[in-house]
């Protein structure tokens, strides 16, 4: 039996959860099944081509809850997925990767998952909005105490960071709107 493994480097932006799910599905159709996800490096194992549906769900372990300690809640959360036929493949920064054989038809629609994703993206957006002004306060007033080349470098980093935050902000807002229409 062939159990070749392959590592693939691929970058996804935070708002590209659906794109990632689709990419993983197509990889499986080509006979490469996800073994462990990563922020940048994905590990696949070769096997017979098969259709899987992949789902990214966000599990917030820091969320205040009276349901018990975090490890406990996590195992219950994963348990509910397993019970309903989803295999857990791993996690990256709170995003949990699940898959189930076949394509999703009416019987296990996950359309109601949209709400929790919207909530996640809203939180992300809020954090982004909160941290951007902090950058401004930390960076800018100190510029004159540095040598000019360093000040220019700092300013560049700052501007790039701001553009990055801006891009993220706009794209995440768009993703929220898109999810709302689903």
């Amino acid at each position: 039996m062939d159990t070749r493994k392959m590592r693939k480097v691929k970058w996804f932006w935070l708002w590209q959860d659906a794109k990632q799910e689709d990419w993983l599905r197509r990889m499986s159709l080509d006979g490469w099944h996800l073994v462990s996800p990563g922020r940048l490096v994905f590990t696949f194992q070769q096997g017979p081509p098969q259709e899987f549906t992949y789902r990214l769900d966000f599990f917030n372990k820091s969320e205040m809850s009276f349901l018990g300690d975090p490890a406990d809640r996590r195992s219950e959360y994963l348990g509910i997925f397993e019970d309903s036929g989803w295999e857990h493949l791993g996690q990256v920064g709170g995003w949990q990767y699940f898959r189930t054989p076949g394509s999703l038809d009416g019987s296990h629609v996950v359309s109601t998952e949209v709400e929790s994703k919207i909530e996640y993206y809203r939180r992300l957006l809020r954090n982004l909005l909160l941290t951007s002004p902090v950058l401004l306060v930390v960076f800018l007033p100190r510029l004159e105490i540095y040598p000019i080349w360093f000040a220019v470098l700092l300013l560049t980093v700052f501007v790039v960071g701001l553009l990055f935050a801006g891009l993220n902000g706009v794209m995440i807002s768009l993703r929220i709107r898109q999810l709302k229409n689903e």
Binding site: S65, S75, E76, I80, D83, H108, V110, S111, T112, E115
Partner: protein
């Protein structure tokens, strides 16, 4: 979330059905199955939503953990949850009765 805010907030179909399913104590997956059955297949709640909603309902003291299984915890309605659900059902009944009147009117009109 404060209890008071729950009274006036519009409730999602998913939340309503979860409360309804918990009229008898159930574990998470049992809630999912029960909802499919109750709604005659019109509402299917995914595991992520189910878990998120259960957490929120527990935070609002609408439900509580009735027993600690290994992994499958059994949930049940609290007194507060029961009152809330009954109140909700009453409001929904009024809505559906009004809906029926409207249906009759529209049918006579056409």
């Amino acid at each position: 979330m404060k209890d008071g805010r729950w009274e006036d907030k519009p409730i999602s179909e998913a939340t309503f059905y979860i409360l309804l399913a918990l009229v008898e104590p159930l574990h998470g997956y049992g809630v999912m199955k029960k909802i499919e059955e109750l709604s005659q297949g019109t509402v299917s709640i995914g595991p992520g939503t189910l878990y998120g909603t259960i957490s929120k309902l527990a935070d609002a003291r609408m439900i509580y953990k009735a027993s600690e299984g290994e992994r499958r915890k059994i949930y049940a309605l609290t007194k507060l949850g029961e009152r809330y659900l009954l109140n909700l059902i009453e409001r929904l009944t009024i809505m559906s009765e009004n809906g029926r009147h409207a249906t009759i009117k529209l049918q006579i009109g056409s």
